[in-house]
Amino acid sequence: MMDLSEKQWVKHAVLHPFEGFEDMRWKKSGSLRISFFIVLLFFIGTVVNDRLYAFQFHNSYDKLFNIVPYFVKSIVLFAAWVIGNWSVCTLLDGEGTLKRICIFSAYSIIPYVASLFFTAFLSHFLIADEGVFILCLHYAGIIWTGVLLFNAVKTVHQYSFMKTVSAVVLTLAAMLIMMFLLVLVMSLFQKAGLFIYSIYTELQYRFRV
């Protein structure tokens, strides 16, 4: 039973929040290519949601376009989640491999990504007084993704309910630590770069007779 194509598995996993991932794990399904595509859509959705939102709801700073914040808010965030979850759950006897965690997590963010696009689309037809519809859609996407993500972690590592909760909390902590280290490393490299540059200018002054 349950012999679905990879595309059908996506639909199955998203529409069956409590059973879908178990089935998928049982059949060893899920494609890394599709999950990368979803993350790409997540990135595009983040940009669209900020830039193409109707003006009556959202005022974006359109004097300049900087892609880095969008990149951090989508792809870096997702990568931090996957790596954080993997590093925490390897220590907590989780069964999931990095690849499986990536696939399952990517499938679970589909409702949120969809809500990013749908809310941006819908905003062009509604006035500010009707904004509650958009809000509903937005929260539906978040809650759905939350449930899916929770079950994805639960399934991929074969955890109990309570252990999943602690794993999620620890993953969030791991993400924060990673972020902190990243900032630290970046400032260190910046300092090192500045140091080399100042040596260079110093030498330049010396050798200019």
Binding site: M2, L4, Q56, F57, K63, I127
Partner: protein, 501 residues
């Protein structure tokens, strides 16, 4: 030669275009405005400095430390020459021979002035002088005959040790308001007999982290300890002015608190600008690397209701309309005409603005430019609700300064009124006014739906039909392939079952 003949008009056109900017009256003043993102952009000048008046120009000795100026409703101009202890009276054109008031007759004695800080002249021609050095407020006529002298109030409510009147004001009922240098609880209020009757228009205390922390410690501390702890005090009022309707506008020169810097206070002492989301003065840069340090020493309301705030830090004048929309920023620090070293007071007439400098000891006269006149005309119409009438002046404004944000707002409002929603949306977006855009969009959507109802219904029907047929087709296709899948799945499960057995 043929190519030359053809290019003559071209060359002529080039000459005309390149020389055009030199012909037009260009202002070189360093004026700016804020765009929709709150970033400073160059803007056309609304006022230009015409002349600066020193004591010698008026035929009297040089001024020393001008502390206040006042333009009375009959056109006479008062200069509070603090360092010389005198009041110089002239007219707003500075042509009349100046009259000097330096001795006040009061009950058969002669009073002299010492560092007077502020003057006010009521419509009836009664002069109020804040005689700072002598700690008294004098009410007299224009000949210098006083009928009232107010000294330090003898009341338990008045807790300060000294009385330092710095600015003075009187309302139509004869109540006298005094800015006291060591009172932070607002202006000191006296009735027309000179009796102390309380305080008026206190600023609020800004809720900073330090204030909250002090609250917490005070909650824990004992009575004895509380005595030695610092109290959070509001910033003091530095100056005020009243308009024709009786509202009093106050300003504050505090650098540590930015709440209630500019207020419009009604008779009950309630600040009408309290809930308004307006930033007075300069704005922080986008990354908050530079934080403005505005410190207002004087405020003035023009006869037409424009609010002029005088910033001591940068020597600039910020002009707002009665709805607190920023109109112009001009002035600055420097030695040339139109810039200042140490500003002390501002006054305005219908089309002129006067700024006193206590270090240059001059009064600089600013005249409205043509651009300024157009903007003022348009704002006046707009604020009175004549949106359609204001449309033409607003377009004039845009022609002279395409970045002028108020013009976009005004045009958007007018177009919404006229039902030209599509254009209104464009201008509302340029003005960065979300609620105007929302209203225009609502109108446009309604119009669109009512005019395209048939097409919309047809499109909806077509969409439903397509989804139904596409769904049926897809289901058929998937059920065909699904059958084989199910069969194989059944076989597999059988095989598994056999193994389990």
């Amino acid at each position: 030669m043929h190519w030359f003949k053809n290019s003559i008009p071209l060359i002529a056109a080039l000459l005309v275009f390149t020389s055009a900017p030199h012909v037009s009256a260009r202002r070189t003043d360093d004026t700016y405005n804020y765009d929709r993102w709150g970033e400073a952009i160059p803007s056309r000048a609304g006022y230009t400095a015409a002349e600066s008046i020193s004591g010698r120009d008026l035929g009297v000795s040089d001024f020393a430390d001008i502390s206040d100026i006042f333009l009375a409703s009959d056109g006479s101009f008062f200069i509070c020459d603090s360092g010389n202890g005198r009041i110089v009276v002239t007219d707003s054109e500075f042509e009349k021979k100046a009259k000097i008031i330096d001795e006040i007759n009061y009950k058969d004695q002669k009073l002299s002035l010492e560092n007077p800080g502020g003057i006010y002249v009521s419509d009836e021609g009664i002069l109020y002088i804040a005689d700072t050095g002598n700690s008294r407020v004098i009410r007299c006529d224009l000949e210098g005959n006083a009928d009232l002298v107010i000294e330090k109030p003898d009341s338990v409510q008045y807790t300060a040790v000294t009385f330092v009147p710095q600015r003075v004001l009187a309302d139509k009922a004869g109540f006298i308001y005094v800015v006291d240098g060591n009172i932070t609880g607002g202006a000191v209020l006296f009735d027309s007999e000179g009796n102390f009757s309380g305080y008026y228009g206190a600023n609020r205390v800004q809720q900073t982290g330090e204030v909250l922390r002090n609250y917490f410690w005070k909650f824990l501390a004992g009575d004895e300890m509380r005595k030695y702890m610092t109290n959070a005090v509001p910033s003091a009022i530095s100056s005020f002015d009243n308009d024709e309707k009786g509202f009093i506008y106050t300003c504050s020169s505090s650098l540590s608190q930015d709440i209630d810097m500019i207020k419009k206070v009604n008779a009950a002492g309630y600040n009408l600008f309290a809930d308004m989301e307006t930033d007075f003065g300069d704005r922080p840069t986008a990354d908050y690397s530079e934080y403005p340090q505005n410190s207002y020493v004087d405020i003035d309301v023009s006869p037409t209701g424009l609010i002029n705030c005088l910033d001591y830090t940068n020597g600039r004048i910020f002009q707002y309309d009665e709805e607190c929309n920023l109109l112009f920023i001009f002035g600055g620090k420097g030695y040339q005409l139109g810039t200042f070293r140490q500003v002390s007071a501002v006054e305005s007439s219908e089309d002129c603005l006067y700024v006193a400098d206590s270090q240059k000891n001059t009064v600089t006269v600013f005249e409205e430019t043509e651009f300024g006149r157009t903007v003022h005309h348009a704002t006046e119409l707009y604020n009175a609700g004549y949106y359609d009438e204001a449309l033409e002046p607003w377009f004039d404004v845009l022609e002279q300064d395409g970045n002028y944000r108020m013009a976009h707002k005004g045009i958007a409002s007018a177009y919404i009124n006229q039902g030209r929603y599509r254009e209104a949306m464009k201008y509302a977006k340029l003005a960065d006014s979300q609620w105007r855009y929302d209203r225009a969009f609502e109108g446009w959507r309604e119009e669109f739906v009512s005019t395209h109802l048939t097409e919309l219904i047809l499109a909806a029907a077509a969409l439903i039909l397509i989804t139904v047929f596409a769904g049926r087709y897809l289901r058929k296709k998937s059920s065909c392939s699904g059958k084989t899948v199910k069969e194989t799945a059944a076989n597999e499960s059988n095989a598994e079952g056999d193994e389990a057995k």
